[in-house]
Amino acid sequence: MPYDDEITRHAFPGARAPDRQRRIEANGITLAAYEWGAADAPPLLLVHGAMDFARTFDGFAPLIADAGYRVVAYDQRGHGDSDHTDLYSWVADERDMLAVIDATTREPCPAIGHSKGGSMLAHAIQALPHRFTRFVALDGLPYRSKHPETAMRETKSMTAEKIADWLDHRHGADRAVRKPGALEDLARRRARMNPRLSHEWLCYLVTLGARRDPDGWRWKIDPTLRSGGFGPFRSRWITDRLPGFPIPMLAVFGTVTEPMGWDVTADELAPWLPSSTRIEVMQDTGHFIHIERPQDTAALVIDFLRA
């Protein structure tokens, strides 16, 4: 590649590229999938969060693979190297996730989800408990609002301005392009979403999650995607069913609030978790638990998987 030296310069100690890559046909689009570990080891699914991509697991996934697992991660539609699609929705994301599992194994398997990936898994496991054995949520459980779902609450979250703003965005969305910049500029921009992650790590992520165009580096993520939900979906629909969660769960929480986090503490969510849930709180840790504390997180996960 013409810019190999720029990529080499931003290599990150401890990060390990996947052992295998493939593309998976999923509902008329193709998704980029990555695997760490022996191809004949027991499979384990690893799901990233909103605005992220699978290679953000380059530090964490190899630690799980080295414990004897075939770790399978993938880029969600519109993210990383997966296809940009015409439409995006929660259900479409879940269907894509099931296509990745189908293309990996027909046996039930363990799954780890970070952030939105955890919530998608929690919902999919509630719908299809026979496909999963164990579930790890890395700050991946949605918040159960303390407010009842009243018209007043809807008014706060779906104001007239928010609705008009979303519709206005749709009118010009096809003309949206990501802003180009130098590699280190993209890393500094991403620090707004990832304030606790090192500049060196974010530079490494740029070499994977962005591409170099003639006018500079651009994140690969679909420019028509917007963060944050729009519509009737409320995460408490998932949380309300957590007391009956059908498989063993390890729920890992940080303690430091971050912009991309669910903004929920272990204590707040504990009443909705089955008594068998293993709850772990990482002190002085933010939303990206597995990136800030890869060794500690992997040790917890491996112990839980083997229990």
Binding site: A26, N27, G28, I29, R77, D83, T85, D86, L87, Y88, S89, V91, A92, E94, R95, D96, L98, H123, A124, Q126, A127, L128, E149, T150, A151, E154, T155, M158, A160, I163, A164, W166, L167, R170, H171, A173, D174, T224, F230, G231, P232, F233, R234, W237, I238, R241
Partner: protein
């Protein structure tokens, strides 16, 4: 005559069924349907132009790759058509009726009344209290209507409070005294909530059409 409008990566078909002066009537079809090819007899009395939109994945509109339908996407489809027409009375069948309500709440200055009629997809997937469900879609069938649309828009959650919120936005911000008119007999929970929030009474379609046709903006009909 078909005019094509761009909504993000999807090309939408807007059919003009009748030309005419003044405010347009915009027809929104039900789930799995398409825009009527000719002016429906019960709309013939409308004094202005009559247009009908094919939603994404329906009729002559483009079929997206890989699904991903939501009612909010269809709301944005309808908003693209509304922007083209400037101002319109919006009449929806089934799913199109739910979208007409959302549009009336989202664009209360441009929607000169929303008429909600019976038709396919009026209920959706009911309220959010159902068991979580991820529909499996038969992708071997090609062409409109898109099987992803049929699967996801027959199972989407329509919480009564969410629908009532759009109804209240329309009621508070529309210059019309009655921005939403109920012509449907089927009463899914979201529509019960809207009916209660606005104190709606069932109205014959022809009466609804006449009321909006002859009500100048801001004046009681």
């Amino acid at each position: 005559m078909i005019e094509y409008l761009q909504h993000n990566r999807i090309r939408l078909a807007l059919h003009m069924l009748k030309p005419g002066p003044g405010r347009a009537l915009l027809l929104l079809h039900g789930l799995g349907e398409r825009a009527p090819r000719r002016l429906p007899a019960d709309c013939a009395g409308w004094p202005g132009a009559v247009h009908a939109l094919d939603f994404t994945g329906h009729g002559e509109s483009q079929i997206p790759r890989g699904g991903g339908y939501t009612c909010e996407l269809l709301l944005a489809d309808a908003d693209i058509a509304l922007a083209r027409l400037g101002e319109a009375t919006v009449c929806g069948r089934g799913l199109g009726g739910y979208i007409a309500l959302l549009l009336a709440g989202a664009r209360p200055q441009a929607v000169h009344g929303a008429i909600l009629r019976d038709g396919p997809g009026l209920s959706g997937g009911g309220t959010h209290t159902k068991h979580p469900y991820i529909p499996v879609v038969d992708t071997s069938r090609v062409g409109a209507p898109d099987p992803f649309a049929l699967a996801d828009l027959a199972t989407d959650a329509r919480p009564p409070s969410y629908a009532a919120h759009y109804a209240m936005l329309a009621d508070m911000r529309s210059p019309l005294p009655r921005p939403v008119t109920l012509c449907a007999r089927e009463q899914p929970e979201w529509l019960v909530a809207v009916t209660a929030a606005l104190g709606l009474e069932w109205t014959a379609f022809d009466d609804a059409l006449q009321a909006y046709a002859h009500a100048p903006n801001g004046q009681p009909s």
